[in-house]
């Protein structure tokens, strides 16, 4: 493991400290926690707060999306480990303006349980809290008998849509309805070239040979659905798009938003080439995305790879939410 860190157990507090001190105009830290709230408190007045978070290692998620028009606060857990309820609760308290707080949770046992406990705590304090559990990773089969699909890069688009609506004064119930409406239209699938190394673990979450890739991996080195030899970018696009198409049934008469997301160590050069092939493949189906973004948004430390999110815009307002101006570090 070769990393620019100090002691592995100090990674998260040092990272949070570096972030809030580098960007005081965007973030402030809730004292004695790893929760970061919007510095621009004026922009939150009278509005529902939106809190997200999860394990660390996904930077710029989630703190990079805190700011007017997007999140009100983000809570950083240990690396790849859900934050604890007391921390989430501290964030809820810090952003509540009497209009309630909406939580964006990714579908992992740990996240769901910790955010649930925080919700219980907030309700004891008479803060109204609602939430959405994002599960956009279509690589995993959804089933009543399993944990269900994972929450991955599509979560960032959920943040964006909800953040825009909240900034325009949507109520807690309206946000909840919006989140429920958006959720089934978020579809993500990834391909990995290498795994991430959790600092305290010291070795990669899985090993891929020099010429191997894996489709369908999660953002915590969860294994995917198939391992094979590296292919040209065009072929990777074909595979991921087919996987999404199975569920989404891409259709030239519909509108789509696209997020090409680098997993951490993959340079923009590769992400842009992948985008080129993706846009070609979509054009063959008569589709031109109504909205697109390419870059590192929901990473997995230094994992190499790309995830592709396609978000079907079944409501015209959603496109406005995606393009609504924000003041954040990383959107």
């Amino acid at each position: 493991m070769k990393k620019i860190i100090n002691a592995p157990q100090d990674v998260v507090p040092e990272m949070v400290d570096g972030l809030v001190r580098a960007y005081p105009q965007y973030l402030k830290q809730v004292p004695d926690t790893l929760a970061m709230v919007r510095s621009d408190t004026a922009s939150m007045v009278g509005k529902v707060g939106i809190v997200s978070g999860g394990g660390s290692g996904h930077e710029p998620a989630h703190a990079g999306f805190v700011g007017q028009g997007m999140l009100s606060a983000a809570v950083a857990g240990q690396v790849f480990t859900s934050p604890t309820p007391d921390q989430i609760y501290a964030a809820i308290k810090a952003v509540d303006q009497g209009q309630g707080v909406f939580l964006v949770v990714k579908n992992y046992s740990g996240d769901v349980m910790n955010f649930d406990m925080a919700k219980d705590m907030a309700e004891m304090d008479d803060i109204e809290v609602q939430s959405i559990v994002v599960d956009d990773d279509i690589a995993v089969k959804d089933s009543l008998y399993t944990q269900g699909r994972r929450g991955v890069a599509g979560t960032v688009l959920m943040h964006k849509v909800l953040g825009a609506a909240a900034d325009q004064g949507a109520s807690l119930d309206e946000l909840s309805q919006l989140a429920q409406a958006v959720l089934p239209h978020l579809n993500t699938v990834a391909v990995a070239l290498s795994a991430a190394t959790v600092p305290e673990v010291g070795k990669p979450g899985f090993e891929l040979a020099d010429d191997e890739i894996e489709y369908g991996v999660g953002i915590h080195s969860e294994p995917g659905y198939r391992r094979e030899k590296i292919k040209p970018s065009k072929a990777l696009v074909t595979e991921l798009l087919a996987k999404i198409d199975e569920r989404l049934h891409l259709d030239a008469s519909h509108q789509y938003a696209v997020l090409v997301n680098g997993m951490g160590a993959t340079p923009l050069m590769e992400q842009y080439i992948f985008s080129h092939d993706l846009l070609d493949a979509l054009a063959e189906k008569g589709i031109k995305p109504a909205f697109m973004k390419v870059g590192n948004y929901m990473t997995s430390i230094e994992m190499a790879g790309i995830s592709l999110t396609i978000f079907e815009l079944t409501d015209a307002k959603w496109l406005d939410y995606l393009t609504y101006p924000v003041k954040t570090i990383a959107w």
Binding site: Q9, G55, G77, Q78, V79, F80, T81, S82, P83, T84, P85, D86, Q87, Y108, S109, G110, M113, N114, D116, M117, V140, K141, Y145, T146, Q147, R150, V198, E200, V201, G205, F206, G218, H220, S221, E222, P223
Partner: protein, 195 residues
């Protein structure tokens, strides 16, 4: 009657087992999870031991509550709320007057089931908790029963937690939370043996 002192001994032994097996637990969590279970539990149990060290005269409820709060606020992940809830439920039950170990553990088990929505057979810590708590009720907990319960997770397909993403590929791997729960009950057996 389960005393505050027994509880403290129990948790100290458990903390030692976690510290010793930290790397092993994270290794178990690597093929079927995210490789952090040992680190998570070690971070929590270090906090538990530190908190208990400052509370030498505490009653049973306080011990359990201290443990619960340390775990809930330090572990995170899936294991934090589950172990935390278990001890919080034991704190509640003892506050309600029970010092009976089988009753306390039954409350803990119910808390884990409610918090996580899993059941025995899902390849989680419950595959240890369910048979162990039943054995405690019947007063026949022993090392073999614990080992068997832990090993029972090996051939299972997971239905909860990160291992559930693997489908059949989870077969052949022990569940890390079941293994750490095995340490918890081994520590309990050792505590009882000393009493």
């Amino acid at each position: 009657m389960f005393t505050a002192q027994a509880a403290t001994t129990w948790l100290t032994k458990f903390g030692d087992a976690i510290a010793t097996n930290k790397a092993y637990l994270s290794d178990l969590d690597t093929p079927i999870g995210d490789g952090d279970h040992g680190n998570n539990m070690a971070r929590g149990m270090t906090a538990v031991q530190a908190a208990l060290a400052t509370q030498t005269d505490a009653d049973l409820t306080t011990v359990f509550k201290t443990v619960a709060m340390a775990l809930i606020s330090k572990v995170g992940g899936a294991s934090g709320p589950l172990y935390g809830t278990a001890f919080l439920e034991m704190a509640k039950a003892s506050k309600a007057g029970t010092t009976d170990l089988p009753t306390l553990l039954a409350a803990a088990l119910a808390g884990i089931e409610k918090r996580g929505g899993a059941q025995a057979g899902d390849k989680t810590m419950l595959d240890v908790w369910v048979p162990v708590v039943a054995a405690v009720q019947a007063d026949k907990l022993d090392a073999t029963l614990i080992a068997t319960a832990v090993d029972s997770t090996k051939p299972m397909i997971a239905k909860k937690g990160r291992a559930s993403y693997l489908g059949e590929r989870a077969i052949g791997h022990l569940d890390p939370g079941a293994v750490s729960s095995g340490y918890l009950f081994t520590a309990l057996l050792e505590t009882e043996a000393q009493a």
